[in-house]
């Protein structure tokens, strides 16, 4: 188990990278501008790539370099580019109807992070309590999960829903880099490609939404009930 013997320097590098990505999730939560979401997402992906590289370097997993490069390439460049294209085509710049004001969603987000911490603390194996990185990684994994769902719940615009889903996936990816760096390489690469397909599909679907439903706001999607 690689996390059982990380030294303080490594631990602090991992935790600072993870914490900054969590903060970027809050940036997404606190903004109304779609463009900001995409920038924050891209920055988060670069951080995750850096994290993979760091884990690979310190833990002796050379295959993680490949993951790092692919993460930076796909999540850091290609996905934001695709999202920007969708935004440019849709001509929506910001969320129009906020269910929650940014400030209140930030407060809610903070509570969710605390909740995530409580869960993570319960899940941690006693013998590993010394490694704070484990609790931190679990906390961030779960809280990005919660924040992603919060974004899905309080945002209507199609693009922000896509981003909400991507934050969910980013959280898992981040956590899995720290917790299970030895996870088979094939799986991670396939998951990355999978994401690319997800976004491509979403792009097409958004176009259909505009053409056939006349809106990209999920608020208007209320024909099918009961």
């Amino acid at each position: 188990m690689f996390l059982a013997h990380v030294n303080p320097l490594q631990a602090s590098i991992f935790s600072s990278l993870a914490i900054v990505s969590l903060l970027l999730a809050f940036v997404m939560l606190g903004s109304h501008w779609l463009r900001n979401y995409v920038y924050a997402f891209a920055a988060q992906s670069w951080l995750i790539a850096a994290l993979s590289a760091a884990v690979g370097y310190f833990g002796g997993y050379p295959e993680l370099y490949v993951i790092a490069v692919l993460t930076a390439l796909f999540r850091g460049l290609v996905l934001p580019y695709l999202l920007m294209r969708i935004i440019a085509r849709l001509n929506v710049k910001r969320e129009l109807h906020a269910v929650l004001q940014p400030s209140s969603s930030l407060v809610l987000g903070a509570f969710l992070v605390m909740f995530a911490f409580v869960i993570a603390n319960h899940m941690n194996w006693r013998s590993l309590l010394s490694a704070h990185v484990v609790v931190l990684a679990l906390t961030i994994m779960l809280s990005m999960k919660f924040l992603g769902f919060l974004m899905l719940a309080v945002r209507d615009e199609a693009v922000s829903q896509i981003l909400g889903l991507l934050v969910l996936e980013n959280g898992i990816f981040l956590g899995s880099q720290i917790l299970v760096p030895g996870m088979p390489l094939l799986i991670e690469i396939v998951i990355l490609f999978d994401l690319l397909i997800v976004v491509a599909c979403f792009g097409m679907l958004v176009r259909f939404l505009v053409v056939h439903a006349g809106t990209t706001s999920s608020r208007e999607l209320n024909r099918l009930v009961g």
Partner: protein, 416 residues
């Protein structure tokens, strides 16, 4: 399981030939068939793979492919259904991924940092894992694949997607896709059974099962759309399967598997019938469909008999499998669940057949019915689904029982 999907795929393909011709979309047909077979392929891949990660990827791919099948008719409603489908299911399935990663992490304490991600590996490592971690992982997986399987309260995408997709696709979604993700739940349940969290995990599955069943029963009674009725009936039957798995034991698991097979057959039959009626009467509302027997003497009869079967009456196969599940429940810890199950089974029976009584025997004025082409294409798959349904209801083959008990001891790790 593979049998299930292949059967549904074969039947749906036959039906699709006749049905899709009615849609006046000649140009996009190759696309439809391409997506359709891709959908079948990913589901088969999910079932044969031995790798937990690949299983997740296959399930995720089924979502992406079937989204476009759901939105195939390109109207406002079907696009809306496709959108809701992909957002809800992707959110859910990402929970399953988190659960899978945590399972792998938990296993790495026992098996070392790197190991092959197979079900067998998880089986060996599970008993040694810190119980709260195992429990959280299992619940995440349960909610994740439960979303995909349509367990309430994560079922919200299901009626929309099933009602807006073309009928052969609805049959595939209901008969094959739900089962494929139920298989994920079954396998993970197998992984945790035999550990200290096993009772709680089983209770959670029973809880979701009974909740789906109740919700679906209530919606069935008040339903107005014909395909939404079928969709809620799928939620109900998925609930029954979850109950069977949760009750556990040979009877529970074998009953759940038998139920899977029978439900696939019967639900395909029902969706084909619904597709015929929708095309002929030009409406999705139950109130717009009257005097079915006059319009379709043969396929109408099959549809009615299928409805009796799916409501759980003997001599059809679903009666037998529901009875087996019930027998597993009455004897075990979950007697209360079994009692609720029986009560709402009666509700479903009355509610479902009341709609069919209205459609067949109501004395409403006669309507204009558009004659449909391709009689053989539309009726043959209904016969092919109906005959085995009747046979399996009267006689549970010895070989099939042995396969089910073997699967149940394998999936459940021989712990029950």
């Amino acid at each position: 399981m593979i049998l299930c999907i292949s059967v549904v795929y074969t039947l749906s393909s036959i039906y699709a030939v006749g049905y899709m011709r009615l849609l006046d979309e000649e140009k996009r047909l190759p696309l439809f068939y391409g997506l359709f077979s891709g959908f079948a392929f990913t589901m088969l891949a999910a079932c044969v793979t031995n790798n937990v990660g690949v299983f997740w990827i296959a399930i995720e791919l089924t979502t992406l492919i079937s989204t476009f099948l759901v939105g195939f008719e390109r109207e406002a409603e079907s696009t809306e259904a496709a959108w809701k489908y992909i957002v809800v299911v992707s959110g859910g399935i990402s929970l399953a991924l988190l659960g899978t990663v945590l399972f792998y992490w938990a296993g790495s304490f026992v098996l070392g940092p790197t190991y092959a991600m197979t079900w067998a590996a998880l089986h060996t490592s599970a008993p040694a894992v810190y119980p709260p971690l195992l429990l959280v992982s299992f619940l995440l997986v349960l909610v994740g694949y439960g979303t995909k399987a349509g367990l309430a309260p994560m079922h919200t995408w299901l009626p929309d997607a099933h009602s807006e997709a073309p009928a052969p696709v609805s049959a595939m979604l209901s008969g094959a896709l739900l089962n494929a993700s139920m298989l994920g739940i079954a396998r993970f349940l197998g992984v945790v059974s035999g550990t200290s969290v096993s009772p709680f995990a089983h209770s959670a599955v029973v809880g979701f099962g009974i909740f789906s069943f109740v919700i679906a029963a209530l919606f069935i009674v008040r339903q107005t759309g014909i395909k939404r009725l079928m969709a809620y009936s799928s939620v109900e039957h998925i609930g029954v399967q979850a109950l069977g798995l949760g009750f556990g034991g040979v009877f529970g698991v074998a009953g759940a598997l038998y139920h899977m097979l029978n439900h696939s057959l019967n639900k395909s039959l029902m969706f084909f019938g619904a597709g015929n009626a929708m095309r002929a009467y030009g409406t999705k509302e139950i109130s717009g469909i009257r005097h079915v027997l006059k319009a379709f003497p043969v396929s109408g009869t099959l549809w009615l008999l299928g409805a009796v079967g799916i409501a759980g009456a003997p001599p059809f196969a679903l009666f037998l499998s529901e009875f087996t599940v019930l027998r597993a429940g009455i004897g075990g810890r979950y007697r209360w669940a079994a009692i609720v199950f029986v009560v709402f089974l009666i509700v479903v029976f009355i509610g479902f057949l009341a709609h069919f009584r209205a459609m067949y025997f109501d004395d409403a004025p006669q309507q204009q019915v558009r004659p449909l082409s391709g009689l053989v294409w539309r009726t043959l798959p209904m016969w092919l689904a109906f005959v085995p349904l009747l046979v399996l209801g009267l006689w549970w083959p010895r070989g099939l029982w042995e396969i089910f008990t073997r699967i149940s001891s394998q999936v459940m790790g021989g712990s029950q």
